[in-house]
């Protein structure tokens, strides 16, 4: 039985250190989280706090210097009609882009989850994510080329003899413009385009988690495919769609590049923030403006979290 006697090795420093961590799990956790919390909790959240703080300062109109004392003047300035129009326009655009992305994302996600072979799924997944990670600016810029007066879309309409239709569409007040690339249409198309992969991936992930046997069970219990789709697939896909909408909605709220490159002269929140903090030098007003999407997104995230969207991310 001597072979079975315990053979305790001399304990090394790493072994002793390891035992110390084993016996102090809370301390270990704190050590693991110290650096990330310093970064995200102090630098990042601290900056958000600094921004929030700035929105309660005001700009002295005569001297052009920021007055660092608590005031609600800046928010009073924010809630003027023209600024509220900008907020409403941005939110409406974000909502429209989100709905369009959801509608476009669903068929392809559904196809990937239900019909594609395992190798096909991989290929599709790469095909969908490649544009997401590749240069955002380049993709926006491509739409400028496509939608320009002499660009691809104009050429197609011309070739089909539908120039009149295009002109009529562009003549619609407030959203139209001299060409597609200088109108709300252009802004809308580019937004839908750049954020679409953000919607496809979580929708696909949610659909992929629906087991085939569940659909068979539904069919077995007498549901026609349309009913199965409406009563089983759609409800189970919803957390994924909501998770995707977090991105499409949030990214649209804060973007200033797309409306700048592909819009008529109507401003969006992002552009105003850029102008106020840059050329106008009104940091407090810029800060107050960013508080709007921040508040909207916190409410949105709160609702999305309650609907189980984070599990689908």
């Amino acid at each position: 039985m001597s072979a079975l006697s315990p053979s305790r090795q001399p304990r090394s420093i790493t072994s002793r250190l390891s035992t110390f961590f084993h016996n102090n799990p809370t301390l270990t956790l704190l050590l693991l989280l110290a650096a990330p919390l310093l970064w995200l909790g102090v630098i990042y959240l601290g900056s958000l706090g600094a921004l929030l703080l700035q929105s309660f300062y005001r700009l002295d109109d005569f001297t052009g210097i920021v007055v660092r004392e608590f005031t609600l003047d800046t928010y009073r300035q924010l809630f003027t009609q023209s600024n509220l129009d900008i907020v409403a326009r941005t939110v409406a655009m974000a909502a429209a882009v989100t709905v369009a992305c959801a509608l476009l994302a669903f068929p392809i996600s559904f196809y990937m989850a239900r019909y594609a072979s395992p190798a096909g799924k991989v290929a599709f997944f790469i095909a969908v994510t490649l544009p997401l990670w590749s240069s955002y600016l380049v993709r926006v810029y491509a739409w400028k080329l496509i939608l320009a007066k002499e660009g691809v879309v104009g050429w197609i309409f011309g070739a089909l003899g539908l120039q009149g239709v295009l002109d009529a569409v562009l003549a619609v007040p407030t959203i139209g413009g001299p060409s597609l690339s200088v109108s709300m249409y252009g802004t809308f198309f580019a937004f839908v385009y750049v954020w679409l992969p953000y919607m496809i991936i979580p929708t696909y992930t949610a659909l992929e988690r629906v087991p085939g046997s569940m659909l068979e069970a539904s069919a077995d219990l007498g549901a026609r495919p349309v009913e199965t789709f409406r009563r089983v697939i759609l409800p189970l896909a919803m957390p994924g769609v909501i998770a995707g909408s977090i991105f499409t909605f949030s990214l649209t709220l804060g973007d200033y590049i797309i409306p700048g490159v592909l819009g008529n002269s109507a401003f969006f929140i992002g552009q105003v923030v850029l102008i106020q903090q840059g050329t106008a030098g009104n940091i407090p007003l810029a800060a107050a403006f960013t508080v709007v999407p921040m508040v909207i997104m916190f409410v949105y995230l709160w609702i999305a979290g309650r609907m189980g969207a984070f599990e689908a991310l």
Partner: protein, 272 residues
């Protein structure tokens, strides 16, 4: 990050034609802009982009490579920023992933929320927040202010990859290692790091691509320095040699496609 499964069985035996058509159109929608960029990098027109292009030339590639030295400093800066930001994100992202996956603790949900926040909130908020914080504390814009901004939103990419891999690694594996006499550091070295290795590589490449391409946050944290995306942005309103921008864009697409493609392959082959 992506697990193809065999369990999904067809809803109806074959995809309806209408669905296939829709899928084809969406794919076309996703990829035609890249084709357009490629096409216009060969156009003979210098200031406008009429369709179809009046003629084709490869001369802009020569111009971009040899006659435009202004491209190189932004390119170099972008690579440096992306490398450093990725390095920071790798460390911070995996630390959080380890902490989250090994224990349940009070505030765990708050931390996952905090990690997602920098990409869930519009980039402009991250940008202007950092800018105003730098302003409040009198920090001058530099290479490091750009890195801080980029690392902040890159953390989540690494975290997502690593945490997904750790979640798929059974808890019994680390227990088995400890049971067989390995202390925590040995378990980390022999079991956990090999298991998350490819996830780290994939997360790192995605973080690199994300940073290399970022423009919104960078606008607020860069001061006078130009990263490549900022250089491209400034070129969009320039009247002359416009196809050169397209050439640079083609290169940017190529440079970001490669790591993303590799990252995807890396996360897949260990998924069976």
């Amino acid at each position: 990050m992506f697990t193809p499964t065999r369990r999904a069985r067809p809803f109806t035996a074959r995809a309806p034609f209408g669905l296939k058509l829709l899928v084809g159109l969406v794919l076309l929608f996703l990829y035609c802009p890249f084709g357009i960029i490629l096409l216009y990098s060969f156009t003979t027109e210098e200031t406008a982009f009429t369709f179809p292009p009046p003629g084709l030339t490869a001369d802009w590639y020569r111009v971009a490579l040899f006659d435009r030295p202004d491209i190189y400093p932004p390119l170099l800066l972008s690579i440096q920023v992306a490398l450093v930001a990725t390095f920071i994100a790798l460390i911070l992202g995996s630390l959080i992933a380890f902490a989250i996956s090994r224990t349940r603790f009070f505030g765990r949900e708050a931390i996952t929320f905090l990690v997602i926040l920098p990409i869930a909130l519009p980039g402009i908020i991250t940008g202007i927040s950092l800018r105003s914080a730098f302003g409040l504390f009198g920090i001058d814009f530099s290479f490091w202010t750009i890195v801080i901004g980029h690392a902040t939103f890159c953390i989540v990419v690494v975290y997502n990859n690593v945490v997904a891999r750790l979640r798929r690694t059974a808890k019994s594996q680390t227990e088995a290692s400890a049971d067989l006499g390995a202390n925590s550091l040995q378990t980390l070295r022999y079991i956990l790091l090999p298991v998350i290795g490819t996830a780290l590589l994939a997360g790192g490449m995605l973080a690199f691509a994300l940073s290399f391409d970022e423009v919104i946050v960078t606008t607020f944290t860069a001061g006078q320095q130009n990263t490549l995306p900022i250089w491209i942005y400034s070129q969009l309103s320039r009247p002359r040699q416009r196809p050169v921008t397209n050439v640079v864009a083609v290169f940017v697409i190529a440079i970001t496609f490669i790591p993303i493609f590799l990252a995807q392959r890396l996360t897949q082959d260990t998924n069976d």
